[in-house]
Structure formats: C-alpha cells, structure tokens
C-alpha cells in the first residue's frame, strides 16, 4: 500500500535517558539522510545496522544531537516498511528538536496508534490482534480528544479560534467577489488583504514563541506538592503561579474538584496535581491528611515534599516520608526565615540521594535553587514521564509552523501581485491547519459564512 512517511516518539519520555524516534515509510531513509552526518550515507548502508553520527539542520548547519541510528529496510521491520530509528538523549528538549527536524524534512507526525496500524495493514500483525489494534486507535484517539477538549477553554484554542474567524471573514469576502462578480460588494483590496495576512502571521509567530517558552498549555510532568498542613504548600504554588507562568484548566469529569495547574519551571512543564485541595484546605487545619498525600503520590512523576524548618519532624512527616520512599523527590525545607527547630540530619537520612533545598517562600528565598534542582532532575533524564501526550503538543507546534509558512506564502503572493484567488489557496491552507490544531474539521463553514455575511440572490 502506498503510504506517506510518518515519524513519532517510540519510547516513553526519559526512560533510561534514551529516546527513540521512529520514522517509517518509503522516504524514511532519504529523510533522515538529509539531516544525518556520519561516516556513510544511510542510503548506502546495509539493512539492520546501527550507525553513530550527529544530526544537524542542513539550513543552518547547527548540530542538534549525537545519535545512534538504526536502519531497517522493508519488509523485515515492525511496520514492514523502511524504518529508521533515531536513538537520542531522552530529555524533552532534545526529543522535541529531533522530531521537529524529521518533520521539517518531509515526514508527517504519526497519528495515535499509526505504527501499529501500519504493521497490521502491511500484514505484520496477525488477525487475532486486529481487535486490539482497533481498541488502541480508539483509546489513543479518545485520550487525544480529551486533551483537546481540556484545551477548549484554554488560551490556545481561544487564540486559534479568533485567528480562524479573522481568516474566514476575509475568505468569505474574497469568495463573494469571485462567485458573485456583479454583486455590489467592494473588492477586498490588496492592501487590506496584506494587512490582514501580516497580522495573522505575526500572531501565529507570537503563539509559536510562547510555545517555545512552554507557556502554551501542554501536558507537563505530573507533580505533587505534599506535606503537613501549614507547611507552605499553598505559598509554593502561588509563587509558581504568580509569575504568570500558569494556565489554569478545569478538567471536568475526572475526579471531583480536582484542578490541575500547569507551570513552567525553566523549560520543564509541570502539571501540578490537586491544587484545589491545597488551596481549599490550607486554612482548614487538619482536613487534609496523610491519606490524601499518599493517594496523590501514587499519581505523580515528581514529588515536591515540604517540611517545616521551624518544627520538629512529626509522625505525619514520617508517614509521608515512608510513602515517598523510592519515588522521585525534591525535599523542600521551608520557613528558613523562622528559628530552626528541625533536625536536618534526620531529613538527610531519610532522603540520602535526593536534593534537599532550603527555602523561605515567604521571603522569596531559595526559589531559584529549587527551580534549578527541578530542571536538573528533569534534563538528566532521571524523571520518568508516564504520559506520551507530549506528542500532541509537538503536533500543535508543527501545525502552527505550517500555518505560519502558508501565511508567509500568501504574503509573498500578494507582493508578487498574484490574483486574489491564488493567494486564497494559501490563506485557506492556513485556516485548515489552524482548524486541525483545535480539532475542528473542514466542513461547509466557508459556504455558511458567505451566506450569513453577504446578501446574495437572484
């Protein structure tokens, strides 16, 4: 079956410090060859061999990554197509860079379950597994949909929707002048159109910049802030949120009253669990207990465990220590502005290999150190991220980039004085790509818009 070449992250993020980006399809080897520098061109090597080299963007010659590349030619591969697997460092940033590069040079981002689907369609997986494949597609799609839905009220979808509305109004105006040439609608002037296109392009650009800084909503590292009541959990949360780094979403229908907040700590996206619980119960002493902390710990990739510098360790503290044992923990000793009543040796004994940071969140001390510790943990690959939904963000970024490119081409067309219906081709493409970002399908929207915006008749 003739299918295009797809790429995606094949390993859970950060696992073993190594990530695998899989590229599958007729063009797989050719695409990776464009960005790979090594002893031999990949097109010349034997099948099922591994090669050391570097990846670089041929446009800028900027070296991106040191990699090991496996070349596997059809049919003895997972998908029965040509497959190239790029092994790179497992950190979020490097995975993103490598995937971006592969997508830029001709691959398409794989849909949920698509490698497995291809494996099946190409006869690699036997019949008995077909049902499982269908379930997989369904499950992954539902999940992606859930993410998309949770973003419906989010900043991103709001912005994208506004951009699309701008575009569709301009498009309807242009279409009317094309389909009803004698109608008394003024032509959309080149200047007006140029302004509109430039405005939309710069807004997409801005979106992409914020995406880079991680300010766009994305699936972060699930993070729990735990500790006794009054230890400063709420203050810590506020200090993260205060810097306007957070976007709050209310995911309905998951757990009652569970609110998740996204913050960005030095490029590491954190998804803070049960912040509502923290906020609600901070003042109502003793309402949140050890039990609650325990259950939160189970869901988390990263635990920010807080103890009070001003107090001796209590039964409750030890219970939380016990629950957090063997998990990825950053210990925060808070309230250093008050007198020390805590025995630091006991804390160190409980967490011999974990970072312990002294802070006074109230006085804004130690927060830099804390952020640094989190970033280090993350980028060294020690933290393992459960969800692979990171890809859905890569998808957004990729689509936005293509939309930006389409707007760019529209603008070039206007400068070249191309007829408006040619320019419309690029504008429409941008509009469709933006639609994909927020999961709106291409229907008869344009036709509807034309008839609601203009008065036409015989």
């Amino acid at each position: 079956m003739n299918m295009d070449t797809i790429a995606g992250v094949a390993t859970p993020m950060g696992e073993g410090g190594i990530a695998v980006i899989r590229v599958s399809g007729d063009e797989a080897i050719a695409i990776v060859d464009k960005i790979y520098c090594g002893k031999n061109k990949l097109s010349t090597v034997d099948s099922h061999t591994i090669h050391y080299g570097t990846l670089a963007d041929p446009k800028t010659n900027e070296m991106i990554e040191e990699v090991l590349v496996s070349v596997m030619k059809a049919p003895r591969t997972f998908t029965r197509e040509d497959v190239v697997e790029i092994n790179c460092h497992g950190g979020l940033i490097s995975v993103e860079k490598v995937l971006d590069l592969v997508l830029e040079y001709g691959a398409r981002l794989a849909e949920p379950g698509e490698f497995t689907k291809r494996a099946f369609l190409n006869g690699r997986i036997d019949l008995s597994q077909a049902e499982a494949v269908i379930d997989l597609i369904r499950a992954k799609t539902d999940k992606a949909l859930k993410v998309a839905l949770s973003q419906v009220e989010g900043k991103l979808s709001k912005l994208v929707r506004a951009l699309r509305q701008e575009l569709i109004e301009a498009m309807a105006h242009i279409e009317v002048t094309l389909d009803y040439p004698e109608h008394d609608v003024e032509d959309f002037t080149q200047n007006l159109l140029l302004n509109k296109c430039e405005e939309v392009r710069s807004q997409i650009k801005r979106l992409l910049q914020t995406a880079k800084q991680g300010k766009i909503l994305r699936e972060g590292l699930s993070t729990a802030i735990v500790g006794k009541p009054n230890v400063g959990k709420s203050s810590l949360l506020n200090s993260f949120v205060q810097e306007d780094k957070a976007i709050v979403t209310d995911i309905a229908g998951t757990t009652r009253d569970v609110i998740e907040e996204y913050v960005n700590v030095r490029g590491v996206p954190l998804r803070l669990i049960d912040t509502a619980g923290i906020r609600e119960t901070e003042d109502i002493v003793e309402k949140i207990g050890v039990e609650k902390s325990r259950s939160m710990l189970k869901q988390a990739d990263l635990i920010l465990l807080m103890v009070n510098y001003n107090e001796e360790l209590t039964q409750d503290d030890y219970a939380i220590f016990e629950a957090a044992k063997d998990l990825q923990v950053v210990v925060i000793v808070n309230k250093t502005d008050l007198a020390q009543n805590l025995d630091m040796e006991k804390v160190k004994a409980a967490f011999p290999n974990q970072p312990i940071i002294l802070t006074s969140i109230k006085e804004e001390e130690g927060i830099d150190e804390l952020e640094k510790a989190i970033a280090e943990l993350f980028f060294s690959g020690r933290v393992q991220q459960e969800d692979m939904t990171y890809v859905s963000n890569a998808r957004h970024i990729h689509l936005l980039r293509q939309a930006e490119q389409a707007m760019e081409e529209a603008i070039i067309g206007i400068h070249d004085r191309m007829p408006v219906d040619m320019v419309q081709i690029d504008i429409k493409k941008a509009w469709e790509l933006l639609g994909e970002v927020i999961g709106e399908s291409v229907g008869d929207d344009l036709i509807d818009q034309i008839f609601s915006q203009f008065c036409l008749g015989k």
Partner: protein
C-alpha cells in the same frame, strides 16, 4: 389508470425534457441506445422558467465541461445567445467565467430541433404516472394515456414538476413551473417505491414590459466586444448583442415590503419547503439584511423577439399588487407594466444520498435521477447531472462500468460527490468555493481535463479529438521551449520589452518561463522577445501562459490531489456491513451504512465520520479482506 397498451421497447427512457432530460436523452442516443424522451408538454423542451441566462462562476465552468464531454448545452447557447460576457477578468484564470444572456424561445427551439434530428432518439408528449419495477429493477414506465414502455434503464428528470405548487400571496395552486401541469401521480409512485422525498422551494421574479421602462435613468451593461464561446467547436460569434440594465431597490421599496410582510407566504407559514440560501427572495433579503439601504436589480431581456424583461434580484411571492408597488418604487420603473407576477414554487425532490455516484438509485437498479429532483437548482447543474445520468444509463445498458468524475477532475464531479456523499439541506448551487482544487478546474482547461473521457465514452468525434490532441501537443511543446530557451542580458530586444512593461531589466541569464512568471509579463511579450517557431492560435497561447505563469500554485494543488488520490484509490467492497464494526462511533456506522461510499476518500467526506473512524474502517477492511482470502484458499 383504466386500460393500458404495450408501446415500444427502449434501451433508455428519459422522463422530462428540461435541461437535465435533454442532455440525458441526447447522450444515451448518441451512445447508440434506442432512447425515448417523454415530456408533459412538447412546447416546454429545454424551457427556462427562471432567469434568461447560462453560465457565470462555476456554472459556466460546468457548461464547458459538458462540452468537453460531448454534451449539448454549450453549443445550444452559442447558437442562440443575445449577450456574452467574460466575468472576473480582473482576477485569476481559475475564476474567469463566461456568461450568456439567452434568448429563451430560440434556446428552446434550437434544442428541440437538435433532439428531433438525433438518430435513435424519439421525443414524445406524455405524462409518466408510474415506473414498472420488478424485484428491485426498473423495467419501464406507464403514461397517463395508458402506454407501457419497456426499458433497460430509466432516467427521471422531473425538475420542479413533482407535486409542484405555485404560491403568490394568498393564492396557491398545484402547478409545474409557469403554469405547466404538475406531476402528482409519479411523486406518489416514487414514494410508494420506497424513495425518501423532501420538499424544496424556489422562486422567480416578475417580468415587465420593456417599453414601459425609462432606461435613461439606469446603468447599461453591454456584452463583450469580442464575445467568447462556450463550446470548443464553436467558431463564429453572434453579432448584435442586447444590453442588460442595472437599477436599485430603495428605502421606499423596502417600506412596501416591510408594510406587507404579513401577506408574504414566506412569513405567514404558507410555504413549507426549504428555500435556497444563495437566492433568497427580496422579502427575505430585506428582512435578513435590513441595514442594507439598497439591493441591485438587473433588467435582462428574455429574447430578441419579445418585449418581456426579467427583473433579476426581485424574486418574490408577494401578492400581485404588492409586486407592482415594489417595481414602481424603483428608479426608471415609475410607470412600469408588469407582464407576469413573480411566484414561489414548492416541489418534491429526492434525498440525493439515496444515489450512487453514477446517479443510479441504490434502491432500484436501472433507475437514475438527475437535475432539480436531486436537490439542486440551476440549469447548468441540471444539465451536468443529466449528461452523466444519460451516459451512465447507456453504459449500464451496454454492460460497461459507470463514469464517475473526480473532485479534482470537474465541477460536475464536485457537484455529484457533494450530493451523494453529504446530501443537501437546501437547493444546491455550485460555487467555485465548493471545489478544493479550484485552480485545476479552470474554465480554460475543461477540454484538457475531459476530452479524453468524452472521446472514450464515444461522445467526441474523431475529428474533434484529433484537433484536441494537436492542441495538447502544441501546448506541451511550447512550454518545453519556454523552459529551455535562455535569454541573456545582452539581448537588447528583450531589455526593450522589459523596459516597456515596467519590470526590471535582466542582469543575468534567465529562461523564458521564468520571465513569463513576472507579474507584468504576458505571453505577447514573450512572443516579441522570442517568437514560437510555429504559429500558435489564441487558445494554445492562453494555455501556455496560464500553465507557466501559475506553475507554482498549480503544483501545490497537484500535490494535494495526489494526497487525496491515495485514499480515493482504496476501494470499499460493496458487501461490507458497517453495523458490525466495533470501535467505530455509532453515528459513523449509521451514516456509512446509509451512504455506502465506494472508497475511503468518499467515506472520509461523509459528515460525522472522524479520522479515527476511518482508521478503524481501514483496519476492519484489511481484516475483512484476509478472511475472504482465507475462505477462497
């Protein structure tokens, strides 16, 4: 029906001789089928009950496509028009569109003459009351005069005649268009046979007497000085074109309408049918867009030998005297004489998702439908469908697979795919914006796109095909020459031409194709710099210029088409049962079971079917395929 008698046997019977029916019957007869064309009234062959014009954006494209496939509408228009204009000339070549003002009477008599002189084709006046259907196969028709005609395929093109009802103010009566007899019994029969019908509505404006209009107060709209033709075979133009005239409604007109809204059938609930969004009545326009101080009104002659004029923009079903007040409120029409009032007409049409893309009904084999009965509006949309239904009915008789045009191939393909895949909620009109690949579906290249198909079907003559092949080769050779001829900065002639056009002079070697891509440069300039070794006619030059100049955009569109064709090529076996596919949403299962798409591409266009559903479907198909293979081993 009391007694019946056996009439002749036919290969194909076409019910209705409007624009769809004429094309259907001509195509079938020309393809060698013994064809019977039946109409309620022989004086209504190819009748234009609404506007006296053919073409315009998308519609004009269809007329050219009809011509490239060997249909009649283009030639018939070229022989009878009273005005020809190329629209959108200030825009890109994809939206250039030819539009003719028709002479209604001449159009009819010319078409009737062609039909009467076509071998294998019999034209007869009769009202069909029943289809003969046995075991799900349509085998003929029975007329009100008792004739039983047998046929291997039947094409129904009833336009607005099916249970037609005219509404003017409080007045309502059963009628076909313009007081023709409606077809009531056949509507009931279609329903009895199990076809799902819906009620649509359309309307037409009043007609006025030319001599009662003061044209000095209006803006003249003349035809082109050098009129182009719709048909690729037409070589001569008609001299003496007649102009149209432009005036406007005003606040007084709107007051007349607002003051009489309680008498408007549109708002009193008298009309149950769904009207077209794209051509609302004037009362609808005034209500929905009440901030607009005026609306355009064009006065169009209905023909050379009549004083009647069509008032375009004033479609209405208001009471007669209100219509007259509306007319007289407008500049230049203070003393106007109204000859016929405008009216709304309701009619039955079938839900088009009941059709295969061949326009054969899924329910009854050998039964095809085309034109307004399929939920469209417009003469051109009707003709395009009629042609395809006629072709496919003939091919069915001849045991050949149907011809289905792709969305990337023709507006006719877009039209039919939209109808059978998505259906329509209001009378469907083609727009260029409905085509994803508008740039490929140009008015100028309809012959390039479709002549091969027309020839293969047998509707394009050897002689014409030869001329077409020759043109295609010339275009290819000239493009090749432009790509390979380099011009140096030392070429003084070239620099002179560039100076004249106001584009920068050459500083390095450039090929002619690159030069032609500059916005200011056209083929004539290229010709001056480096003339073609052979004399090329205007059509070839036009093709070369467009193909070279917009090469970048054309490539973009072609890349999209290639992507689409990958999924269009994945066929879905007809035996598939969607209701048992687990993992697919309920909505998708139900829709797909109803539409029964032919391939994955069509399936993905069904509304409510998501990409995930398509993935599941593909996996299921593979599974289905393997079971079949295993069973056959």
């Amino acid at each position: 029906m009391n007694t019946t008698y056996n009439g002749d046997d036919f290969d194909v019977i076409v019910i209705g001789a409007g624009h769809a029916g004429c094309e259907s019957a001509l195509a079938a007869a020309r393809m060698g089928c013994k064809t019977l064309l039946l109409t309620i009234n022989l004086d209504a062959v190819a009748y234009m009950p609404c506007n006296p014009s053919v073409g315009g954006p998308a519609k004009g494209h269809v007329v050219r496509e009809i011509d490239a496939l060997g249909g009649e509408m283009a030639k018939n228009t070229d022989r009878t028009y009273i005005q020809m204009r190329m629209l959108n000339t200030g825009k890109g070549p994809a939206v250039h569109a030819l539009r003719a003002q028709a002479d209604k009477i001449a159009y009819q008599s010319e078409m009737k003459k062609t039909i009467e002189n076509t071998p294998n084709l019999i034209l007869r006046q009769a009202m069909v009351e029943e289809l003969i259907v046995n075991d799900g196969v349509c085998e003929g028709v029975i007329t009100n005069t008792g004739a039983r005609y047998k046929a291997k395929a039947v094409v129904v093109t009833t336009g607005t005649y099916l249970r037609g009802k005219i509404i003017i103010g409080d007045l309502q009566y059963e009628s076909g268009p313009n007081n023709m007899r409606p077809s009531v019994r056949l509507a009931e029969n279609l329903k009895e046979l199990g076809l799902e019908l819906v009620r649509f509505k359309t309307g037409t404006p009043p007609r006025i007497h030319k001599s009662s209009v003061d044209f000095s107060k209006m803006e003249i709209q003349p035809g082109d000085e050098e009129p182009r033709a719709f048909s690729y075979e037409t070589t001569t133009a008609i001299p003496d074109q007649l102009p149209c005239w432009l005036t406007y409604t005003n606040l007084e007109t709107h007051e007349v309408i607002q003051g009489n809204l309680h008498r408007a059938p549109m708002y009193s609930g008298a009309i149950e049918g769904t009207g077209p969004r794209y051509c609302p009545s004037i009362e609808d326009k005034v209500v929905r867009f009440n901030d607009k101080p005026r609306h355009q009104i064009f006065l169009e002659p209905e023909g050379r030998h009549t004083e009647e004029m069509y008032v375009q923009g004033l479609s209405t079903s208001m009471p007669e005297e209100v219509q007259l007040s509306m007319l007289r409120s407008m500049t230049g029409m203070e003393e106007v004489k109204m000859m016929r009032p405008g009216y709304a007409i309701e009619y039955d049409s079938i839900v088009p998702t009941q059709l295969w893309p061949s326009l054969e009904t899924k329910l009854i084999e050998g039964l095809f439908t085309a034109g307004q009965i399929n939920g469209t509006s417009g003469y051109e949309e009707a003709s395009g469908q009629g042609l395809m239904a006629g072709i496919n009915a003939a091919r069915k008789v001849q045991d050949k697979p149907p011809v289905i045009l792709g969305r990337e191939e023709a507006y006719i393909g877009v039209l039919i795919d939209d109808l059978v895949t998505k259906g329509t909620n209001d009378p469907y009109r083609l727009l260029t914006s409905r085509a994803e690949y508008r740039l490929l579906l140009r008015h100028d290249n309809a012959d390039m796109r479709l002549t091969d198909i027309g020839y293969e079907i047998g509707l394009i003559s050897e002689e014409r095909y030869k001329a077409f092949i020759n043109k295609r080769e010339q275009v290819a050779q000239e493009k090749e020459r432009l790509n390979n001829t380099r011009i140096k900065p030392e070429n003084e002639e070239a620099q002179q031409v560039l100076r004249e056009t106001g584009t920068p002079e050459l500083t390095e070697v450039i090929d002619l194709a690159q030069l032609l891509r500059r916005p200011e440069v056209n083929y004539e300039h290229i010709h001056r710099i480096s003339p073609s070794p052979v004399e090329l006619d205007e059509e070839v030059r036009e093709q070369v210029e467009i193909q070279v100049k917009y090469d970048g955009y054309i490539r973009k569109s072609l890349a999209q088409v290639e992507k689409m064709n990958k999924v269009e090529g994945k066929l879905i076996p007809s035996a598939i049962d969607y209701t048992v596919i687990s993992g697919m949403s309920k909505e998708a299962r139900e829709k797909l079971e109803k539409i029964r798409p032919l391939n994955i591409g069509q399936a993905s266009r069904v509304s409510g079917v998501t990409p995930a559903d398509i993935s599941v479907l593909m996996v299921y198909l593979e599974q289905f395929h393997r079971v079949l293979t295993k069973a056959s081993e």
